[in-house]
Amino acid sequence: MAIEDDVLVIGGGLAGVTAALAAAEYGDRVRLLSYKQSTLRHASGLIDVLGYAPGGCESGDGDGDGSGNGDGTGESNGDGEERRDGLLVDPFDAIPGLPAGHPYERVGLERVREALLFFDSIVGDAYEGGHTAANALVPTVGGTVKPTARYPASVAHGLASDSRPTLLVGFETMPAFDAPLSAAHLRAADVPFPVRGATIPFPGELRDDAKRTRYAHVLDWDESVDTGTGAGDAPARAVLAETIRPHLEREARLGLPAVLGEEHPGVIRRDLEERLGVDVFEVPTGPPSLPGMRLEDLLYGALEEYGVRVTTGVPVVDHEASDGGRRVDHVLVDRKGQEVPYRADEYVLATGGLVGKGVRSSRDGVTEPIFDCHVPHPEDRYDWFVDDAFGDQPFARFGVAVDHELRPLDAREEPEFENLRAAGGVVGGADFAAEKSGSGVSLATGYAAGRRAGAEVGK
């Protein structure tokens, strides 16, 4: 016997979770299979849609070649960020002009909008940005600004469009965020506000390489820590506020690295705001990312609420087809040596791209390992890349090609299977790092694939 469901989603990142939730709206029995813990905790927690026009695209106010060449004002940082010209004001204006084969072109503008609304309805007050179609500009740990469509409420006071004077504060033991350097970069990028940086010790006696979650939990639980002033112990949030206070001059807002709690970020922020009389915001970091973990908690909570069954810890390794190869009959899950069959009517492939291992490459070619879907790529592997590291890299767009229903296409451009759809990074055609479109593509394709799968089950 196989383990049976109506819809089976493979992959536990943003695309997979969105697909599972969208399919579950149809009342189907949905299962999400994730090999490892969700990669959402690697994500900044920002939800970008389209920050820069992709190469060869005439839309928006792109820089023409869209190649991602830096203009030298920014350093790369935890977000892989680099500030460039060609930043899009309104991503939705640019979508209709995208080239054929881009994931947004495949699903269409309306689905992208719907997907954002669907996301808004799930995360509620935890996210902001839905009041406008325009990109928000969020300062990053590297002192660049990232264009994004939605952002956690905790970063709201930090937007670069805000002209209030700003103090950035980093911690001695957390070199990933060098606040004075970050402030200098922001000034060099001509942000419309005065900004300074300061570095302080984090309250308490964490080890020098303490896990980022430990910082968050010290504040979550308001642990009792040494004040460092000879006054004995006091709650961590109070000590943090008192350590920051002497550094504040006339700033109206204060930015800290995004470690202000895993469970109670709102309470911690408000606590600091009341003590210091300024607005407090978080600066998103690279992994392990607290805003990413909070988003993971929110979305996995929604999965539970929607009745989606979640299985983790074991990979899908293969499939069996039926109907003369036209349909996926079941997939095989490697449970530490045993290949256990899981069967469903509809499947969504959301296993990620080259980094997420949903797409694999070797000297012989580029492949999709579970369904062996066709991944278009030049035969000569020296055509997979260009010499300029920040140039328009062909490999960045590698992934399965899909039809308008998001079914992966074979080499003859026919659907590989009637009941298989792809979502997120495994779909080719977008250079998400250069365009700043990773989250939006995952949401839009996940939502569209999940809806379609859910609707097919009902037929």
């Binding site: 016997m1 813990q37 964490l206 896990k211 392990p288 979640v310 299985t311 810890g313 530490k336």
Partner: protein
């Protein structure tokens, strides 16, 4: 890790390199090669943020250090394994967290084994204590000969005092009671394999009389790996396994066996583990060849047979046994229409607070028990979240780790407390100890729930 960069060297600066031949840069990478695993680590620190020990003990450097970083430091000849390896509880959550397939627990087991071998005084209290704890089966075999006396003695405050002061076994915990009749004694008394074959045949005949088919289930046979705990301490779990499988028409065999080795890995007693594993592999390999599948009721036992044996040992048949080993509910779900069988069942049980053991999670079994019991009328189980129970086998029995163990367990205790249930449910015997210790709840095994739902009362007497 066949996909590692070490196996597939990249070929920058080699234009048109059809003639390319990889150079063997690291000749030592021939034996147990952990290099590809170390190279797969891209330092995202996700493992560290999942480590329950690092979460509560600021002295512990975490799995990223214990695994890939320590492996690399060890390349230097004058560098020893860091003593902090002994703080790792072997919960294996880092394996589950890693997005890059680094074999963290394998690296930890290997490092711990080397540390104990080379740096722990074999006459030290710690070594003696750990040896006793990890060879629990030996102690249990002796103790269970006179279970009432043993239970009495183990409960005495003087015994606890000696354990605590002399051996470093915490007196905070109550020793698990030995059953007055072990599972194996019951099994032999009941008629052993012959009786099981007969019962399975009857069960098949009863279900096939409806369909009037031939007896097609003659090859339905399973070999039960019960482990020490179900034998000496919770024979009701082992009996439930036997009765449930027989009810589905499976002949059960219960071969001689040793401890799975789980506590030995966790204490760095790799020689003891090797001996136990060899015995088990030799036994079960032959049964697998005869058409038996191997069934475990403890998820750490199944973890050992499926993952740790192949990672650490290379006896003939290790892979065969690993590839034919299943957890009990998992096996029934795959081989029987469990949902349909359970749909007609109706049983009154108290509500359960269910905890998924970390080792079950790593085998893709999270959610399984909740899904299975959801199909039974009259049974409700509430998930108590994904935290670690904190005991990790023998870990929480040690004086120096007791507080860490309880601090880790706190989240689970709180969730159990707020769940609408006053009975616990879990697959793992030591998680069960911790759940009971932290809440005072009685703890059941999912097989006992299945037994109540599927096995007629008259059969439960036998």
């Amino acid at each position: 890790m066949s996909d590692s960069d070490a196996d597939r060297p990249t070929d920058d600066h080699v234009p048109g390199d059809d003639e390319f031949e990889p150079i063997q840069v690291f000749p030592e990478a021939e034996e147990m090669d952990l290099r590809p695993g170390a190279d797969n680590c891209y330092k995202c620190s996700t493992c560290d943020t999942n480590c329950p020990v690092a979460e509560v003990d600021d002295e512990f450097p975490g799995p990223k250090f214990q695994g890939p970083e320590q492996w690399r430091l060890k390349r230097g000849e004058d560098t020893d394994i860091d003593p902090s390896i002994e703080k790792c509880s072997n919960c294996m959550r880092c394996d589950h967290a890693c997005p890059s397939e680094v074999p963290l627990s394998q690296m930890h087991n290997t490092a711990r084994g080397e540390y104990v071998e080379e740096h722990v005084d074999k006459l030290s209290r710690e070594y003696v204590r750990n040896r006793i704890l990890s060879n629990y089966g030996t102690m249990a075999r002796i103790g269970s000969k006179v279970p009432r006396l043993t239970n009495f003695v183990m409960g005495l405050s003087v015994t606890k005092w000696v354990n605590d002061r002399v051996l470093g076994i915490t007196s905070e915990r109550e020793f698990p009671e030995f059953a007055t009749e072990t599972f194996r004694e019951w099994w032999d008394e009941r008629g052993g394999g012959q009786a099981s074959r007969e019962r399975a045949r009857k069960a098949r005949a009863a279900s096939e009389s409806e369909s009037e088919g031939e007896d097609e289930g003659e090859d339905k046979r399973v070999a039960y790996f019960h482990g020490d705990y179900a034998n000496y301490n919770t024979p009701e779990v082992a009996k439930a396994m036997v009765r449930v499988f027989e009810a589905f028409g499976y002949e059960v065999c219960v071969p001689d066996q040793r401890c799975s080795g789980t506590p030995m890995f966790a204490n760095g007693m790799l020689d003891d583990a090797r001996r136990a594993a060899k015995f088990n592999v030799d036994t079960f390999r032959e049964l697998v060849d005869d058409g038996y599948d191997v069934i475990c009721s403890c998820t750490s036992c199944s973890m050992a047979l499926r993952q740790e044996y192949p990672e650490l040992f290379d006896f003939e048949g290790t892979e065969t046994v690993a590839a034919n080993t299943y957890e009990a509910l998992e096996y029934l779900r795959i081989h029987e229409d469990l949902d349909r069988e359970l749909a007609d069942s109706d049983v009154e049980t108290p509500d359960f607070a269910y905890h998924t053991p970390c080792h079950a999670r790593n085998q893709g079994l999270d959610g399984q028990t909740l899904e299975v019991v959801a199909a039974i009328d009259g049974v409700a189980a509430h998930d108590v979240g994904d935290s670690c129970s904190g005991i990790s086998g023998t870990y929480g029995w040690k004086n120096e780790h007791y507080e860490t163990s309880m601090a880790i367990g706190e989240e689970m205790f709180q969730h159990m407390d707020s769940a609408d249930a006053e009975t616990g449910l879990t697959e793992c015997p030591t998680c069960a100890m911790q759940m009971e210790h932290g809440t005072g709840y009685e703890i059941r095994h999912p097989l006992e729930v299945l037994e109540a739902a599927l096995v007629a009362d008259s059969d439960v007497q036998q």
